[in-house]
């Protein structure tokens, strides 16, 4: 008798689970975020996914997933998908400009294998300095470099965006030979390295250096942007672009598989645009994550990649030897 009841319950559960998929018009799109599962991109992806049911008129729900590893490797795994598969991936300048230039053999795909959906955010990286150096702005930094002082910079990963921003800044100051890049395994570790005195400088997201800055361990010298930071705890910090130094913002592109219906891509873009215009989302991005909403077109994306590529070409000898 017990066996019969168990068999009936099992069959019932199976039938119910099959029926749950019927009649629903809602689509779930899996969004795979590479890099660190607790990193900036993963957090924004999670927040966007949590917001998606409010804006998709019950058609599309985003499901955030984080896979640890660099974008070249992680996206290789998900690129086994076909057009119109309900999967989105993240990619940034690191993949399409840096890896493509330094280690093209590692890339199992190119930009042409994807359809651009939207840019999730823009992050203006900052250069922080050991507070004992007393460097408050770009003039102080230029004087420091000119005096032939050592320039060691903590960066997240050996050949990431942070490494190239440091190489571009100090390289264009003529201090490429003085520059020593020290790679750490996370942005948080790199940010801490300056406060510990292991390096003189660090390049990081603003949110990752905030606590160390507030505790007085570092000074924030400049931002990797064209003009000064306008809002937040680092408002007024000079942009390197104002003095003619090369820079780029860190961006996170949401991509679908090449060949996905244009109407579906447009629908996904519309969903992301609505989420990124949500007051709570904007406030959270600005105040907690210290990021900016920066929706883009495909032309903007291509221009961004080209800009980074030119910087990588120019300074790759400093970073990769």
């Amino acid at each position: 008798m017990k066996k019969r009841i168990a068999a009936l319950v099992t069959a019932g559960v199976l039938a119910l689970s099959m029926l749950t998929g019927c009649g629903s018009k809602q689509e779930s799109w899996k969004v795979t975020c590479p890099w660190a599962p607790s990193g900036v991109a993963a957090m924004v992806s999670q927040k966007a996914a949590a917001k998606s049911p409010d804006y998709s008129d019950n058609k599309i729900t985003l499901v955030a997933e984080a896979v640890k590893g660099d974008a070249a490797t992680v996206n290789t795994w998900v690129s086994s998908t076909k057009a119109n598969d309900k999967e989105l991936v993240f990619a940034g300048e690191g993949l399409f400009a840096i890896t493509e230039t330094l280690d093209p053999a590692k890339l199992q795909f190119s930009y042409d294998d994807f359809e651009f959906v939207e840019n999730l955010y823009s992050s203006v990286f900052v250069l922080s300095a050991d507070s004992s150096l007393n460097l408050k702005n770009l003039d102080d930094l230029e004087a420091y470099v000119k005096a032939g002082n050592p320039v060691s910079v903590a960066v997240n990963g050996a050949t990431g965006s942070e490494a190239f921003l440091a190489a571009a800044l100090f390289g264009s100051m003529g201090a490429g030979d003085q520059l020593k890049l020290t790679p750490y395994q996370s942005a948080a570790e790199a940010a801490q390295a300056v406060a510990k005195g292991e390096t003189n400088f660090a390049v990081s997201h603003q949110s990752q250096i905030l606590e160390t800055y507030q505790q007085g361990g570092v000074d924030v010298v400049c931002a990797f942007d064209d003009k000064a930071i306008e809002n937040g705890p680092f408002a007024g910090v000079e942009g390197v672009g104002s003095k003619g130094y090369p820079y780029f913002r860190n961006r996170c592109f949401v991509m679908a598989r090449k060949g996905t219906d244009a109407a579906k891509v447009a629908e996904l873009k519309e969903l992301y645009d609505k989420i990124l215009a949500d007051d709570e989302m904007v406030e959270w991005l600005n105040d907690t994550m210290l990021l900016e909403v920066d929706t883009m077109t495909e032309d903007d994306v291509k221009a961004h990649i080209e800009n980074v590529k030119s910087i990588v070409e120019q300074y790759k000898d400093i970073v990769a030897g």
């Binding site: 499901v63 795994w77 050996a158 750490y184 395994q185 606590e211 160390t212 907690t288 994550m289």
Partner: protein, 502 residues
């Protein structure tokens, strides 16, 4: 304002029915996930993180802390029952937990693990509550050179887990170190030993290799046994009343206390973790024990030392997170994102702006450990019944769980082959009498040792003086020297005894 100013409002925020339900749910889920080989605690936290998006900060954190702490204990269940650690940090528990179980003392082993885990968890929660900001400032001073010294000290554990032959232990550890080199070079990002296989770019996952090294090798080993040799173990279950004697409680006290202190110290240092802590603690307990010969053969001290340490790490990893905004390990890094999604940016400044929330989380950790103890106490009998399942039923279930666990780590069939390759490799090692535990130790410490060694030399422009540059380095050098002298003395004593016996 300090703890006593916030204790009232923090208690008001914490002691709600909602929080208690979430804690218990988290504890149960964490325990089940950690008990299944391959399903790691971090995977569980990642899977259940979206559940916390719509929750407020405290219930969300309580749920995740429940998973995290119970995961520390849950890993010991499969280590004791089936000689396969559910999580990498339960590997040291396996060394004595499984022999205890084989001696027909499964319930007692599970109870020891639970008591030690609870003690370690509450100890570190109290450290977090009373000493958090102070110890965080000290740990923030530890740099790359000090981290390397910690790793080097960790390497001395190899002697303790090498079994009969130190040379074979060292060979096995070198194999582990070699395996840890697979993947992207941590300092240059160029690939090593990947043979053009994209899935190896990220290296080999510890959870997957563990399944091969300890679980599949057991299954292969069973295939060699005759039918009448299979059920020896299950026959002893009837004698298991789960009783721990007064003398055993007495013997447990010192390793549990020592393990809790070691776990708290290791957990405070970002980048280290429960695996390192449990090995340090196990080795220390063995060195200080009056019965070192029992270690590896079912020592209650061994189980107690390893379990108290790996659970003490849980509270301690929250210290750098809540006070400096630095996540101590992967699980805590995910919890950081749960806080940030709620608009809370952890750090000392948060103690001023949202002190009640911060102290509620700290107090909540004590509550989590209490509920872990209560759930564990009632689940112990249930878990213990697993060993009474006939081998012809249990073995296929273990195989299915092993492969499902290996697949779930990266949702990849490739990982199934990795687990299988490691299973076969472990079988050959067994035939050659090479111990498997040093391989695991090499893999746990390999990447961290190499990265910190190379980075330290990069910082110092190649000068080895950096490894002697701080008082912390000298403390670790002294510890390493003491341990090596102890090992050599022990080996000389063993040789002398062997000669006398002959």
């Amino acid at each position: 304002m300090g703890l006593f100013d916030f204790i009232g409002p923090a208690s008001g925020l914490l002691f709600t029915l909602e929080n208690i339900i979430w804690i218990n749910l988290g504890v149960f889920i964490g325990c089940v996930f950690a008990a299944i080989p391959g399903l790691s605690v971090i995977l569980c936290i990642i899977l259940f993180l979206p559940v916390t998006y719509t929750m407020r900060a405290i219930p969300g954190m309580m749920f995740l802390l429940g998973i995290y702490c119970a995961g520390g204990y849950g890993g010991s269940v499969s280590a004791i029952l089936i000689n396969t650690p559910g999580t990498p940090h339960a590997a040291a528990t396996m060394l004595d937990g499984y022999p205890l179980s084989k001696m027909g003392r499964t319930k007692a082993a599970l109870k020891i693990a639970l008591y030690a885990s609870t003690f370690g968890g509450i100890f570190s929660a109290l450290v977090l509550l009373f000493l958090g900001p102070q110890v965080a400032k000290i740990s923030a001073q530890l740099g790359t050179a000090e981290y390397f010294m910690v790793c080097l000290f960790g390497m001395t554990i190899i002697a303790g887990v090498s079994g009969k032959s130190l040379v074979k232990g060292i060979i096995a550890a070198c194999l582990g170190l070699l395996i840890s080199c697979v993947g992207a070079d941590p300092m240059t990002s160029y690939d090593r030993f990947t043979f053009g296989i994209p899935r190896l770019y990220l290296g080999l996952d510890l959870a997957v290799t563990l399944i091969g090294l300890f679980a599949l090798v057991e299954i292969i080993g069973k295939a060699e046994l005759k039918r009448n040799e299979l059920n020896l173990h299950a026959g002893k279950i009837g004698n298991d009343d789960g009783k721990i004697t007064k003398d055993e409680y007495k013997r447990m006290f010192r390793p549990v206390l020592m393990g809790s202190i070691i776990g708290s110290c290791v957990g405070i240092v970002p980048g280290t973790g429960a695996s390192e802590a449990s090995w340090f603690s196990y080795n220390t307990a063995k060195n200080l024990s009056k019965h070192p010969e029992e270690f590896g053969h079912g020592s209650v001290e061994g189980v107690a030392a390893a379990e108290s340490a790996n659970n003490a790490v849980c509270g301690a990893t929250l210290i750098p997170l809540l006070t400096l905004g630095i996540p101590g390990d992967g699980c805590v890094a995910i919890m950081l994102s749960a806080l940030m999604i709620n608009g809370l940016n952890p750090g000392l400044s948060l103690f001023t702006t949202d002190g009640a929330i911060m102290y509620a989380i700290m107090l909540g950790l004590i509550l989590v450990n209490i509920f872990m103890f209560l759930q564990g106490k009632y689940l112990t009998s249930l878990f213990a019944k697993v060993v009474s399942i006939p081998q012809q039923i249990l073995t296929p279930i273990i195989v299915i769980f092993c492969f499902a666990g290996a697949y779930s780590v990266n949702s990849s069939y490739f990982d199934l082959s990795v687990a299988l390759v490691f299973g076969v490799m472990a079988w050959f090692m067994r035939k050659l009498e090479l111990p498997a535990v040093p391989v695991l130790l090499g893999m746990v410490l390999g990447n961290m040792t190499e990265t910190n060694f190379r980075r330290a030399l990069l910082i110092s422009d190649g000068s080895p003086k950096i490894f002697f540059s701080s008082v912390y380095c000298w403390i670790f050098i002294a510890l390493i020297v003491v341990v090596i002298i102890g090992i050599l003395r022990g080996k000389m004593k063993e040789t002398k005894n062997a000669k006398v016996e002959q």
